[in-house]
């Protein structure tokens, strides 16, 4: 082990190092890591722009940098996939730290596209009324200023905006891109924090209702840190069990997967620890718990409604879509690559989690009165449906989950983008009673939102139906028929509250003091349009994308 040599040379620093002790240069495949490197590099450029550009030119500069960076990253992903890295040339790069394979590239591509659409909604400046001659976006004039203080007034009057949100977005995207590709537990943990920390900050930066926004950030942060401590302890235990944190390896340099299935050459110390299955089981359960927190599965879901409600709506949309994609990607890799050997241990547990997640998500949503909380509970229920696909442990399970993630995330982005449009004097009018009769006042907006809701509900010819269908089909093929039955019942309950919103929008009288619908700039319009297009295209012709997801659905080991 070369690292031993490091410490040794540290202790005997007086002695000259023999040439033979040189640590071999690690081999880093920069080209194959380029999507992530581009995004993180762009984020760094964004920080520099924030430091050196004058305030008035920052907004456009940041928007440009972000869009260019994300587009370049997407191009890099496509180039890698075209070179066959998604299929035949899939392998593990960066000394075993990061996998470059089909699921990784597929999910990275999805995340980058989500981020691109989210960047549009971040940059929207036409919704808030013009204050003191300055167009402003959804973010606080000055995050550090106390709400209602003279300092804040001053910042608002000067037309400040927090353009740091763009670099923060990019840092989060960078972390999310590594997360599903991470091939060892350390990378998993670090990337988790890399994407979580910017999200905590973004949550606190709402322009309106800042107390709620800050409260959301506090809750998200404390609970997120709590869960990542569990994750880390789980990693420690798995390390204790296997003597390594790599997912996979060879017989001589085994990864956790090899240790579990017994194909590794065990050292005496290892033979001792692998005898202790408690380490493996407790560690595995705690790591899974850390990931379940991020996907918002019951009983680790309680942060979701509060945070979704309090965070600035564009951030909520981004978070709901991209976090779910990244976390499900990581969960899939963990369960399919590292822990298939102990599938008989985790499958029943995940069954239970999936069932309570679907049922509780759907049931609690029924009595919600706030649109954003409603969508939050809906996202919990969707996490349950996705878990049903994860449990299948089959190629069709992977492809169906990948497909579902794409379908779900763009609909979610579009849905939250619509929420930003419906406003009254206090900002966004998120209380459901305000949405009554929206169909009379703004038929187009209401119709678009109805399309998204129908997709969430899984009505045929929408993306949601195709996704749900694929997931349940995979689960049923894997023998999880009871799970599918419960899933369908939960879908029916969920359909009830989606349809209720539609009925409310179209068949009840508008309130006299109801909200107005702001006319968005092309930024938000295109975000919504992309949502509608994806919903309909994936709903009408899902097969091509299912095939694509199927082709991309093989993990490298």
């Amino acid at each position: 082990m070369s690292a031993t040599a490091v410490v040794h040379s540290l202790l005997t620093s007086a002695a000259a190092t023999p040439a033979a002790d040189r640590i071999p240069t690690p081999h880093i495949e920069y080209a194959q890591l380029s999507p992530v490197l581009i995004v993180l590099g762009t984020a760094t450029v964004g920080v520099l722009a924030e430091a050196f550009l004058p305030r008035r030119s920052r907004y456009w500069a940041q928007l440009g940098i972000t869009v260019v960076g994300l587009a370049a990253a997407f191009a890099a992903i496509i180039a890698l996939a075209a070179d066959g890295y998604a299929t035949t040339r899939a392998h593990i790069a960066a000394m075993g730290a990061v996998a470059v394979d089909g699921p990784a590239l597929f999910l990275q591509g999805t995340i980058v596209l989500i981020a691109l659409v989210a960047a549009f909604t971040f940059a929207e400046r036409r919704l808030d009324p013009v204050a003191h001659g300055n167009r402003v976006d959804s973010f606080a004039a000055q995050g550090s200023a106390v709400p209602g203080s003279p300092q804040e007034m001053k910042a608002v009057r000067a037309g400040f905006t927090t353009t740091e949100v763009f670099p923060l977005l990019l840092f989060a995207v960078g972390g999310m891109m590594i997360f599903p590709a991470a091939n060892d537990l350390l990378t998993l943990f670090v990337s988790l924090e890399v994407f979580s920390l910017p999200l905590y900050l973004l949550c606190a930066l709402a322009r309106r209702r800042r107390l709620m926004s800050q409260e959301a950030a506090v809750k998200y942060f404390l609970l997120g840190a709590f869960s990542s401590a569990f994750l880390l302890f789980g990693i420690a235990l798995l390390y204790g069990y296997a003597g390594t944190v790599a997912y996979t390896g060879t017989a001589t340099a085994p990864g956790i997967a090899q240790v579990i299935d017994g194909s590794a050459n065990l050292t005496p110390a290892l033979a001792n620890s692998t005898g202790n299955d408690a380490l493996l089981l407790i560690g595995g359960a705690m790591v899974i718990m850390g990931l379940l927190f991020k996907v918002g599965a019951v009983p680790f879901h309680q942060w979701t409604p509060d945070v979704y409600q309090g965070a600035p709506t564009p951030v909520t949309g981004f978070m709901a879509a991209a976090t779910k994609v990244a976390a499900f990607g990581a969960l899939l890799r963990l369960l399919y690559v590292v822990l298939p050997g102990m599938r008989w241990d985790w499958r029943p547990v995940m069954w239970g989690v999936a069932i309570v997640t679907m049922v509780i998500g759907a049931i609690v949503a029924v009595t919600q009165t706030d649109v954003k909380r409603l969508l939050a509970y809906s996202s919990i229920a969707h996490a349950g449906f996705l878990l049903a696909g994860v449990i299948a442990v089959s190629p069709s399970g992977v492809s169906s989950v990948l497909f579902y993630l794409v379908a779900y995330s763009f609909v979610t982005l579009g849905g939250f983008a619509v929420v930003t449009l419906v406003r009254d004097a206090g900002g966004e009018a998120t209380h459901l009673s305000k949405w009554a009769g929206l169909g009379r006042r703004s038929p187009l907006v209401a119709a678009v939102f109805a399309v998204f809701l129908l997709s969430f509900a899984g009505i045929p010819l929408t993306a949601g139906f195709a996704g749900k269908f694929a997931v349940f089909q995979a689960a049923a093929q894997a023998g999880a028929v009871p799970l599918v039955v419960i899933g369908v019942i939960a879908s029916a309950i969920a359909a009830f509250f989606y349809i209720r919103v539609i009925v409310m929008m179209f068949f009840s009288e508008p309130q006299p003091d109801g909200p107005t619908v702001a006319i968005p700039s092309p930024l938000t319009s295109s975000a919504i349009a992309i949502g509608v297009v994806v919903t309909l295209v994936l709903g009408v012709a899902p097969q091509y994308f299912l095939d694509l997801a199927g082709k991309a659905g093989v993990f490298v080991r």
Binding site: V146, E193, L201, E215, F226, A236, G243, V245
Partner: protein, 99 residues
């Protein structure tokens, strides 16, 4: 001394941290308890490193420290803003959003 005792200590520290998160009201102290949990992990890492005779655990401990530091910064920033707008750092005061 049997290194396993260090593991017991790590588990104990982790439990103390988790209990602290549950029972303390002050957000900063809650947060310190989370840090305690992370440090318990670190202890477990170095102990296992010693048990296995490889250095991965020690390297991971470095990373954990850095991550914890970054978390401290972000966390303190959030908690301080929260405190300044409410004049209270009690997590029980954060209940604008519920049900």
């Amino acid at each position: 001394m049997n290194p396993v005792y260090y593991l017991y200590l790590a588990a104990l520290l982790f439990t103390i941290g988790a209990a602290g998160v549950l029972v303390r009201k002050n957000a900063i102290i809650v947060f310190m308890c989370v840090e305690l949990m992370l440090n318990a992990c670190n202890l477990a890492f170095v102990t296992f490193s010693r048990l296995h005779g490889n250095l991965d655990g020690q390297i991971i401990a470095f990373f954990t420290m850095v991550v914890a530091a970054a978390e401290v910064v972000v966390g303190l920033a959030i908690i301080v803003t929260f405190f300044r707008s409410r004049h209270s750092a009690s997590v029980d005061d954060a209940d604008l959003m519920k049900l």
